[in-house]
């Protein structure tokens, strides 16, 4: 097992380098030149060349790549072309908000979607199942920006205490208002975004859980468990659920990068200062350093998430062994 873990970790290095080369190349091939976006309307070719040299963009692309890689290995992602601040500052000031929102969303999704999926599988074609099917399809079909605006107009404007955008009331913090008032204030700002984000994803996971559970409860070993005279609770939880969770665990692996990636649409509507808007803006402004940093963090997490899912398999399913 240890052997396997070490081998997998080592394999990640060439994989990530490969990803970074592809990312770097595609980014530079894409139309749009940061120097032209930054410099003025009537800049002469000489002035443009000078600015290009200041930003180190005059060198051949492979030289730029090697330099970039050297800095990254030292933990330095460079500075934004647009405002000159370190890329890591940009990411770190937005990361907490993205993590905070996504973490709460994820807990809610799994806490609700797994039991709902299980129950609707156990009572297939019951009223509950039909209702769940209806709402999950609705949840996936509703465009999130539309649903979000609907909530803002239907709930936000009418209620006096539910804020429609932002993360906190200006001036409310632990120092001035006390711990509980602060927690309550932050929670109020979470209600609308969490509702919108979780509804969409919850639908998918509940459907997954339902079909996975349906498959498992028809298996021979479940029938055997019942035949042994085990109580129904034990059959479902110990024998069926554990096996049915297996595909969900794979999804969890993919959720890791999702946890760090912002959702640009939700951030746009609820003015949530997360990473989604940062990467979107960086792409439009051809802010290469930020784009590369975001891509590489995303790629690393994706690779790690897959790896984690593989390891989790072993824990959930003792039949799987790596050597």
């Amino acid at each position: 097992m240890l052997n396997y873990v070490v081998r997998r970790l080592l394999q990640m290095i060439p994989l990530l380098i490969g990803i970074s080369i592809i990312n770097f190349t595609i980014m530079h091939l894409a139309p749009g030149d940061p120097v032209l976006l930054l410099s003025e309307r009537n800049a002469t070719p000489e002035e443009l060349a000078r600015i290009r040299a200041l930003y180190g963009l005059d060198e051949p692309i492979h030289v730029q790549y090697v330099k970039w890689l050297g800095h990254v290995l030292k933990g330095d992602f460079g500075r934004s072309f647009v405002d000159g601040r370190p890329v890591m500052d940009h990411i770190l000031e937005r990361l907490p908000y993205t993590l905070y929102l996504n973490f709460i969303v994820m807990i809610i999704i799994y806490l609700v979607a797994i039991p709902v999926g299980v129950i609707s599988a156990l009572r297939q074609y019951s009223k509950f199942d039909h209702a769940v099917t209806f709402f999950t399809f609705l949840g996936q079909a509703l465009p999130s920006f539309w649903f979000a605006l609907l909530l803002i107009y239907a709930v936000g404007i009418k209620s006096n205490w539910l804020p429609i955008a932002g993360v906190a009331t200006i001036g409310v913090n632990v120092k001035t208002s006390g711990l509980w008032a602060t927690i309550l204030d932050r929670a109020k700002y979470l209600i609308l975004p969490v509702t919108v984000v979780s509804l969409g994803s919850m639908a998918g996971i509940a459907r997954y859980m339902r079909s996975s559970m349906l498959e498992v409860i028809r298996q021979d070993y479940v029938r055997t468990a019942r035949a042994k005279g085990l109580p129904e609770k034990a059959v479902i939880i110990k024998h069926a659920l554990r096996n049915a969770l297996l595909p969900i665990v794979t999804l969890l692996g993919f959720e890791l990068p999702a946890l760090f990636s912002g959702t640009a649409i939700i951030e746009t509507i609820f003015s949530w200062p997360g990473l989604g808007l940062l990467s979107m803006r960086a792409i439009f402004q051809r802010d290469y350093q930020i784009v590369m940093a975001m891509n590489m963090i995303g790629a690393t997490l994706m690779v790690l998430g897959n790896f984690l899912a593989d390891i989790l398999y072993v824990i959930v399913d003792p039949r799987i062994k790596y050597s």
């Binding site: 030149d33 976006l37 003025e40 803002i152 429609i164």
Partner: protein, 541 residues
């Protein structure tokens, strides 16, 4: 390739600078109320987007300009008539040949950190812009300056290589503190932490920035002019117009600069007791640019027929919901140089359009589209995809022109592709877009023949339609060197007459926007372009 985009950003910035211009002087807002302004209270603005950098010589975006205009001051600023009035400079004079400009600075000005403001700061700021390592977009504005001198602490002399009147409007740019930026090389100016925590001379001090959420400014008690009265300025950032509108309805914000056109009627009906709604003309216009070298458009009568044959009143009514004005030349009504009624108004007249086309030799063909020498009167009109107003205007043009036997084929192209493959290389038959303009009526870069395509095929200025007219060239040159505003107005009226007659563009309209301001805010000077002089506003008791 992106020059057009960059230029748009730059001109939009000029406007933003104006719209939000903070100020001294006129005290008009208080007249008639009989009230004495009191200190205290707060105003909450809503803005879309996020500011980038609080350094007026590096910033290019509207949210940054909005903050910079409250934190920094320039030598001059614009008033509600778009005239330039004193700000950091008390007065100024031009030498007789227009080559030496002397500015006398106010003596009671301090930076927010307590340091005294002097002419050295002005010299430092302008020299930074002229430095070869400067990475912002203002270099061209300051190119006519050859030397900056600070003979004493309160005098600045600018030496020009030739008289250049539009320069004064560029001196609205905020002055940055030498004592904070001099230790950073110009090439690395962007990395100075003061860009994120600015020290200025303006009416408001920068207090706090929660990224992506809000900015808090506080009154500068040592401001060198009257005010500021409102103690706290909060700017909340939204990323979506509809959500910002909802925030306005809910009462989260006191001001929204531009309410979406199809919401205006509902808002005015519902909230007229809470907000003042002001309809303000904007400093820009939409047009269809006609490639002057194209065989179809070479004949002036065809260009004029396109104007007569287009119901532009209907476009304003249907597309802009009435919030706009038809344009007949290139200077909008907000400018002091606007020519107005002396221009041909080109009222909608399909018969006259048909007659002009007949005179030009275009006869109706078998499919209703006119033909001349075997060529159909048909051309493509490009526009950027995703702008609903422009798409709708283009559809009306297509229908109207079809009735006079002209076929316009709309093509919607993604913005960056439109710029890089068509406009910046000046290759197209015609296109529909808009210009946002600066404070000065100078339009040399749009219509002078030297701003067209050079011998290498490169577009020099923005004259992508390649309009060339010797009389106009001469007037545009005069307009730049004449220093007297009355005489300049005469020149620019002549410019508009030529453009109105020759029609490098089919001129469409200028938009009006509707702003909402909470009624508790008093003393607001509403100019044609926005609420001015925020330091003189106060809260109704």
């Amino acid at each position: 390739m992106y020059r057009k985009l960059a230029s748009l950003v730059a001109v939009i910035l000029t406007i933003a600078v104006f719209v939000t211009g903070c100020g001294s002087g006129t005290g008009q807002g208080k007249e008639g109320t009989g009230e004495k302004p009191t200190k205290g209270g707060q105003i909450v603005y809503g803005m879309t987007g996020d500011p980038v950098i609080f350094n007026p010589i590096l910033a290019t975006d509207t949210p940054s300009a909005f903050i910079n205009e409250r934190v920094y001051s320039g030598l001059v600023r614009a008033n509600e008539k778009l005239e330039l009035i004193p700000n950091l400079a008390e007065k100024w004079e031009f030498s007789d040949d227009g080559l030496v400009w002397t500015f006398h600075l106010k003596k009671n000005v301090y930076w927010h950190d307590g340091t005294k403001f002097t002419s050295a700061d002005v010299k430092f700021t302008y020299e930074a812009i002229k430095h070869p390592d400067y990475t912002g977009v203002r270099r061209t504005d300051f190119k006519p300056i050859t030397k900056i001198e600070a003979p004493d602490d309160y005098t600045v002399k600018l030496y020009l290589d030739k008289p250049y009147a539009p320069l004064l409007s560029k001196l609205t740019i905020g002055i940055i503190p030498k004592h904070i930026f001099e230790s950073t090389p110009i090439a690395k100016m962007k990395e100075n932490p003061a860009n994120m925590n600015p020290i200025g001379t303006g009416p408001y001090k920068f207090k706090e920035w929660q990224k992506g959420q809000y900015i808090l400014l506080e009154a500068n008690d040592k401001y060198f002019e009257e005010g500021p009265y409102i103690e706290k300025v909060i700017v909340k950032f939204y990323q979506d117009e509809q959500v910002m509108l909802a925030a306005l309805e809910k009462g989260d914000i006191d001001y929204m600069g531009s309410i979406p056109a199809d919401e205006i009627a509902r808002m005015e009906e519902k909230y007229s007791d809470r907000f003042v709604f002001k309809e303000l003309p904007t400093n820009g216009y939409d047009y269809i640019g006609l490639k002057q070298t194209n065989p179809i458009f070479k004949d002036k009568r065809v260009r004029q027929a396109l104007m007569y044959g287009l119901n532009r009143e209907q476009i304003v009514k249907d597309v802009l919901k009435g919030y706009g004005t038809v344009m007949n030349a290139n200077i909008p009504p907000v400018s002091w140089a606007y020519a107005g009624d002396v221009l041909n108004q080109y009222p909608y007249n399909p018969e006259k359009a048909k007659q002009l086309l007949e005179e030009a030799g275009w006869k109706p063909g078998p499919d209703g589209i006119r033909v001349k020498d075997g060529q159909r009167l048909s051309f493509k009109v490009l526009t950027a995809s995703g702008n609903k107003e422009r798409e709708a205007a283009l559809l009306i043009a297509q229908q109207n022109w079809k009735e006079i036997g002209v076929e316009a084929i709309p093509e919607y192209i993604e913005w960056s592709v439109l710029c890089s493959q068509y406009l910046d290389v000046a290759k197209f038959e015609s296109y529909l877009l808009g210009w946002s303009l600066g404070l000065d009526p100078d339009c040399y870069l749009f219509f002078h023949s030297s701003a067209a395509v050079d011998e290498k095929g490169q577009l020099v200025g923005f004259n992508d339609v390649e309009f060339k007219n010797a009389d106009l060239d001469q007037l545009l040159e005069q307009g730049r060197t004449e220093m007297n505003q009355e005489k300049r107005k005469e020149i620019y009226v002549k410019v508009q007459k030529i453009i109105n007659e020759e029609l490098p563009y089919v001129f469409l309209f200028t938009r009006n926007r509707v702003s909402a301001m909470n009624k508790k805010i008093q003393g607001v000077v509403w100019s044609t372009l926005g609420p001015l002089f925020p330091e003189k506003w106060y809260i109704k008791q």
